[in-house]
Amino acid sequence: MSLLHTVNKSPFESNTFDACLGLAKSGSTILLIEDGVYAATTGNSVADKIKNTTGINFCVLGPDAQARGIQGKLAEGIKVVDYEGFVDLVAEHDAVQAWL
């Protein structure tokens, strides 16, 4: 059983990202979308949280990163997926938890 988690809020504006990180199990995937993509940038005050989490597959939705001009600032180890990749992730996991 593995879950796909989606986070669409900025980690600086809400505790959604922290709530997700607290309940995501090893082997699950966290996909950052919309304003959630800001969590994936280097050098910010939440960067260490991703760095120090092992066993979770972190992905970011490319079109949302590109819209916000951060595609060049993504932290290492974060996979960029497009809309088709989003669909694949949904298909590959047993269920989706959308953190709003």
Binding site: D35, A67, R68
Partner: protein
């Protein structure tokens, strides 16, 4: 009587409508010859970043409009230093916004003023009208 208007921008672009709505109101307000300032704090600093490209999300890229603010005499753009730092950003990550000073033979000047939280609190204190987005 000219009043001091400040628009406070605290939201990232695209995820919510606040940033675009603020920009619309600023442009409308610019027609009334008031003393206008903009403040970008918290996630609001993301509105000014370079390299935004919204083609793939099907939304309007309004980041280029900030470049035109100088032509509307909107040239006091305060960016909070602490907010940039928390997000791993520097002034180099933001667009270079300028205006032309007609009192100095149209010399090009920077519109962005990088200020500390304490300095910004003083600027807020001087305002007559505050509009929050």
């Amino acid at each position: 009587m000219v009043k001091k208007f400040m628009y406070i921008n605290r939201k990232a672009p695209y995820g919510t409508i606040y940033a675009l709505e603020s920009l619309e109101v600023v442009l409308i307000g610019a027609a009334f010859d008031q003393d206008v300032s903009l403040a970008f704090i918290g996630d609001g600093v993301y509105q000014l970043t370079k390299g935004q490209d919204t083609k793939a999300i099907g939304q309007k890229n309004f980041s280029t409009v900030y470049m035109a603010l100088g032509d509307y005499d909107v040239n006091k753009i305060y960016v909070e230093k602490e907010s940039l730092e928390e997000r791993g950003l520097t002034l180099d990550d933001l667009q270079h916004l300028v205006w032309e000073d007609e009192d100095e033979d149209w010399a090009e000047k920077d519109s962005i003023r990088l200020v500390s939280r304490a300095e910004l609190s003083d600027v807020l204190d001087e305002q007559d009208v505050l509009l929050s987005f």
